[in-house]
């Protein structure tokens, strides 16, 4: 049987209180908080986090394909999936594709993955969904949205939740859109969207699935489905004949926000984290139609539940943004003063030449003396053996902070820039920058781990590389 064989998720460490949004604009902006990607994060980096979480403790070579679903990709022209593939250190001889343009991208990817595994063209296909949609300041979306990512591995061995059936509905209904060059999404009147849009289209697909599978909705253990906000989510529960108290997975609007393409998969993962063998889970997405799936949880679930950061651990590990201004700063909502330091250029040949380091964070281990070193050298720093190295993945290593400094004047959105000399567990030293840190807690000897981030916006490119952060959770 084809189904989910693993899951992983990611929630950025920063949260913004909706009180602070309301205070900024002199209005009520709801209760709770929303997640906010750090200045060095985008949907691609969050996708890498989720992908790596999904493969924790597993052989990354088993993945035969990767779909990346988002409506907020870092590039309009340039695939993100291929970069996620490289950063997650997946094989090169796999198919990768971005599923962009629709909030339903995650379930489109799920369908494609399921079909590939069924057809035998792939054994294991990964779906990564990630969104960080920029909402117009003082818009309703600003308080509603959140940033986050989810990853699911689809295969037919060691399945943790089998696909029992699905129903797919395509609709030309227009509710929300963004043209190339638009900074913010545009939206039609909310009553039209609600009454003619998701309140009709999503239940239509779900009810069709009930009929197709001859399913009594009362038998569903948990339902994980998209809605733009909490009130609509409640209304949808009723429309789909589900008991909101017992049958509906909490949609996390109060602690996370609407993470767009990633929201339904994140709710699904939250459900899987608490699921027991035999549970049935309804999964439904919305956007340009709707997709509905029914999963049945197997006894393999426990193995994965024990070994993922997933939703809950990420939600529990957080830092509050001190005010709205900090949000404006890290999401770059304003045009800033121009820097006086001439900016450094990126060089694509350098990035390409150093791709094992830049994307995959590979160091090298001397075959003669065994010492790990990075970046690459031709001649060993310890024994001078020439061209006698084997690659070593550093991205999954932890390390100890040997020394640090906090530069208040570096070209960096979040200051100070915490320069970090990290001695890696297992050998080697990584000279790096620390992100997602509370500067009052940075100290020599603290443990850190690697995280894939944006470095500098040189040459109008997103320059990605690895940083370190305090061990997240």
């Amino acid at each position: 049987m084809v189904g989910i064989t693993s899951y992983g998720a990611y929630v950025p460490i920063y949260r913004l209180s909706r009180k602070d949004i309301g205070f900024m604009w002199g209005k009520g902006a709801g209760s709770g908080e929303r997640s906010v990607a750090n200045a060095d994060e985008d949907t691609l980096t969050m996708g890498v986090e989720a992908a790596i979480d999904c493969l924790r403790g597993m052989d990354r070579r088993i993945v035969d394909g990767l779909y990346f679903a988002t409506v907020s990709p870092p590039y309009i022209e340039k695939q993100s999936a291929s970069i996620i593939r490289a950063a997650a250190d997946l094989r090169e001889d796999i198919f990768t594709a971005d599923m962009a343009h629709s909030l339903r991208g995650a379930s489109s990817a799920l369908k494609a993955a399921e079909d590939a595994v069924k057809a035998g063209s792939a054994k294991n296909v990964m779906i990564v969904a990630s969104d960080s949609r920029l909402a117009a300041p003082n818009s309703t979306f600003e308080a509603e949205f959140g940033d986050g990512a989810a990853a699911l591995l689809i295969g037919n061995t060691d399945v943790i939740a089998t696909i029992e059936g699905s129903y797919h509905l395509s609709s030309e209904f227009i509710d929300i859109w963004r043209k190339p060059g638009d900074t913010y999404m545009q939206v039609w009147e909310d009553r039209f969207i609600r009454e003619e849009g998701y309140l009709k289209i999503l239940p239509q697909a779900v009810k069709a699935l009930y009929k197709k599978l001859n399913l009594d909705p009362k038998t569903i253990t948990k339902a994980a489905f998209y809605a733009p906000e909490a009130r609509a989510h409640g209304a949808l529960s009723k429309a789909m004949k589900l008991d909101p108290k017992t049958q509906v997975q909490e949609p996390m609007f109060g602690v996370l926000g609407n993470t767009g393409t990633a929201l339904a998969p994140m709710i699904l993962i939250a459900a899987l984290e608490q699921a027991k063998p035999g549970d049935t889970i309804l999964f439904a997405t919305y956007g340009d139609g709707a997709d509905a799936y029914l999963f049945k949880v197997t006894e393999n679930i426990a193995k994965v539940q024990d070994n993922r950061r997933g939703i809950k651990k990420h939600l529990d590990s957080k830092m509050m943004l001190p005010n709205y201004g900090k949000y404006v700063q890290i999401r770059e909502l304003m045009e800033w003063e121009k820097g006086t330091i001439p900016s450094r250029k990126s060089s694509l040949p350098v990035i390409w030449r150093e791709r094992e380091l830049v994307w995959k964070l590979y160091g090298q281990k001397c075959k003669a003396c065994g010492n790990i070193q990075l970046p690459r050298h031709r001649v060993c720093m310890y024994c001078r053996a020439k061209d006698n190295f084997e690659p070593v993945r550093i991205s999954d290593k932890t390390g100890t902070l040997f020394t640090y400094s906090m530069d208040e004047r570096a070209q960096e959105i979040v200051l100070p820039k915490v320069f970090s000399v990290v001695d890696l567990d297992g050998g080697g030293r990584f000279y790096s920058v620390m992100t997602d840190r509370d500067t009052s807690k940075v100290q020599v000897g603290m443990k850190v781990e690697m995280t894939f981030r944006i470095q500098l916006e040189g040459m109008e490119l997103h320059n990605y590389f690895w940083r370190v952060r305090p061990i997240r959770c």
Binding site: I341, R344, I351, M381, F402, T403, D407, E408, A410, S432
Partner: protein, 406 residues
Amino acid sequence: MESIKDKVAIVGMGCTPFGEHYSKDSVDLIVDACYEAFEDAGVTQKDIQAAWLGYVNSDIAMTGIILAGALQLEYIPVTHVENACGTGAEAVRGAAMALMAKAYDLVIAVGFEKMKDAGFGGIPQAFPGKWHPVYGAAPEVGGGVGRYALAATKYFSTYGLTPQEGKTMLAKVSVKAHRNGARNPKAALRNVITVEQVLNAPMIAWPLGLFDCCGINDGASAAIMCRTEDAKHFRPKGDYITIKASGIACGPGWGKERPDYDFVHWEETERCAKQVYAMAGIKDPRKELQVIEVHDCFSIAEVIAVESLGLVPKGQSKKDIDAGAWEQEGEMPVNISGGLKSFGHPAGASGGREIYEFYKQFQHKVEEPSRQLKRDIKLGLAHNQGGHPGNFVCGITIVGEPPAGK
């Protein structure tokens, strides 16, 4: 291998005031320093047979031609050298080697840097056009402060100093620099400061604050050199100095990548010191050196340099500093000129400027009489290092009293 010791003499020197010379360009600075040196040696540019010119930033000049144009040198070789902050030492070294080889009889070594046309207070990027994540010295990925601050953090933690104790120790180094620089007419910062001011100054890169950092300035220095046996033609004995040793040590960069580097010593300085102490025959540098000019681009740089030069046991600078041992009247004066801290650091000019301090002290011609060291001056050390902790180039020149009979 033949030692350079006492084979080459410096018979004339010039040094501009260091500072923000908004009304002077590179040529003005070069002319000011070189003409002071010419007049000092009693020569003209027509007597010069070859020149070595040090500057770091390729945006400010092209090749050695700028020197020929500035001084109207007629078709003699001018060699442009660059070795980061060791550039000044490298220019003197190149000139000395040529004299030693008897390829020329009278040469000039010039260092300059015009930094204040750039529009920002840092070191311009070293490799425009090349992007490399994290590694590299461009300000965007962390300037010198952030890098040296790594050593300060580690120094405190290694030797059990609380941040307050460590920062106070470093503050005393900066206070001393300002006290010395305040009396030096060629220094850029000529104000006396207090420990409290240093501790309360804005943070630049924790744990280093504003007064822990030297500035970036414009300046030039020049030295006219010949073989020691010819020195008497230019000035009387007792009025010229000889080169006792000249060393450069380029590190292989282990510190950034090998976990066995401790960030509390400068390996390149230790290795370079070994080279020059052997050449000069120095056994106990603390006792033998009277003028010690070290690279104090940051307060922590001076502390660790002094230790790595073998002048103080490792980790024990605080005792010395608290006792005032590095003050002008102390047991072992360090950076009596005011150092990079009060001069700023026009990279190519600093090495020559440090030798200039010894030259004037030795001749008892220090412009401001209160700065004159009241001791027998025989040997001085000029130390510079460029790059960052873990990956330096170090240049040291040892100069001193000519040997008896020469």
